[in-house]
């Protein structure tokens, strides 16, 4: 187990270096579907975070009992349970938001970030590592969702968290709150992140080249 990342590494990796959306391109369905307002995006990220944390911890606790050919069934069962709990909680305490998010809350069951973390981390490492991994990945997911949602809400509705931030003369770019806006924003942000990463990589290798001779 020596080659597996430690808890701290897992935590940091999840936020930026292995950001689930921008670096692993996982969980794109909610990323595109519910990012037309910041409120919805943060609620979605919160729900995914809750499910991910619970599923990771439970999976990690029973990791020695898992049989290889039945593990996916166990993951799905665990995830589905916590998604249902999250769904009921939203319906009970954030009723309007649960109506806005509609089918996308139950669809967290098929969110590949969660099953990926169960497989990659939780089924191999201790509950503590699994928990920090879940928190890191959830923060990364939340960061991605809210960055897309902020841009879309400002351009498309002139507001943030439903509060008007742009001047009254601002013409709302309706397309940004419609599905095409999600693709445009996500594509451009993904491009920007890739550009930054490539530039960083190039600088690093340059520095290495300079220092080596």
């Amino acid at each position: 187990m020596a080659d597996l990342p430690t808890a701290t590494e897992r935590f940091i990796n999840g936020i930026l270096p292995e950001n689930p959306v921008y670096r692993q391109l996982l969980g794109l369905c909610p990323t595109l579907a519910v990012t037309n307002s910041l409120n919805a995006a943060i609620t979605m990220a919160g729900a995914v975070g809750f499910v991910l944390l619970c599923a990771n911890v439970i999976t990690s606790l029973i990791r020695n009992l898992l049989k290889p050919h039945l593990r996916i069934v166990v993951f799905t069962l665990t995830i589905a349970t916590f998604v249902t709990i999250a769904d009921r909680f939203l319906a009970a305490y954030l009723y309007q938001m649960s109506k806005t998010l509609g089918p996308y809350i139950p669809l967290i069951i098929v969110n590949c970030i969660i099953i990926c973390r169960c497989e990659v981390c939780a089924s191999k490492q201790s509950p503590l590592v699994a928990a920090t991994d879940a928190i890191g990945q959830s923060l990364g997911f939340g960061l991605a969702l809210s960055s897309i949602a902020a841009i879309r809400e400002i351009l498309g509705a002139g507001s943030l968290f439903g509060l008007r931030v742009m001047p009254a003369a601002w013409p709302d770019w309706t397309i940004m709150v419609l599905p095409p806006g999600a693709f445009f924003t996500f594509g451009l942000l993904l491009g920007t992140v890739n550009w930054i990463v490539t530039r960083k990589g190039a600088k690093k290798s340059q520095r290495r080249e300079r220092s080596s001779p």
Binding site: I62, L65, L66, K67, L70, V73, V74, L77, T78, A80, T81, T84, I85, R88, F89, A91, A92, Y93, Y95, K99, D172, T174, V177, L178
Partner: protein
């Protein structure tokens, strides 16, 4: 004997059911916890659904001004939900109708109805005067029409056209400048959304005219008699 036992144990081990013991234990455990969550939260969720409608009833029946006044004076309407069954040629339709009374007097009806819009189902709350002669309010509970076009049906400006519109004749959707009562201006660029809302209202009123005008009058008489 020993050999037999071993093979029995081996069979037991390779049997699908035994291999899946963890899945089954988890399923039972999760099932119980989900049942608990449902028991705990189910009533709250039902309450949310009901409240969403009930909160709107005073405004839809009395109008904004009177509703706000009533609320500030801490008065409340007595709201009684009931189901009205309408038999049509090919099928039966159910409407949920909220009867709003103030100190026993019938103040109006709020009808919940839904139908197909441009993108998805639209769900409406429709306020009607006690005699079903005019519309007293309209609220869109749920819609997924195109943002910027069709979803303007939720704006107060568009909905307010329906307030005080006559309910004893069919509402007509007009493209340019409604002038007479009973004419509804279309939302620019969203003819289909506007038409479907209006059609839903026409249908609901048509369906409910008989059940509501006959039943409540007898009830009202009964009330008077008792009093």
């Amino acid at each position: 004997m020993d050999v037999e036992k071993k093979s029995f144990a081996g069979g037991l081990k390779s049997s699908n059911l035994v291999q899946a013991w963890l899945v089954m234990v988890l399923a039972v455990g999760f099932g119980i916890s989900l049942a608990g969550v449902q028991l705990l939260l189910g009533p709250v969720i039902e309450g949310n659904k009901l409240n969403e409608t009930l909160e709107k009833v005073p405004e839809l029946v009395l109008g904004n001004f009177l509703a706000a006044k009533m609320a500030s004076e801490n008065q409340t309407l007595e709201i009684v939900p009931r189901q009205v069954t309408v038999k049509k040629l090919d099928r039966t339709k159910f409407y949920i109708v909220y009867e709003a009374r103030y100190q026993g007097d019938l103040k109006g009806w709020v009808v919940k109805t839904k139908g197909q819009g441009y993108a998805d189902t639209i769900e409406l709350l429709l306020g009607l005067s006690p005699d079903l002669r005019s519309i007293t309010g309209l609220f869109v509970l749920d819609q997924k029409e195109t943002p910027g076009l069709g979803n303007k049906i939720i704006t107060h400006a568009w909905r307010s056209q329906f307030v005080d519109a006559p309910a004893d004749r069919t509402l007509v959707v007009i493209k340019t400048g409604s002038s007479r009562p009973g004419e509804i201006d279309v939302v620019t660029g969203a003819t289909i959304s506007s038409r479907s809302v209006t059609a839903m209202i026409n249908t609901a009123i048509g369906d409910l005219r008989n059940p509501l005008t006959t039943a409540p009058s007898s009830q009202g008489k009964g009330g008077k008699h008792n009093g």
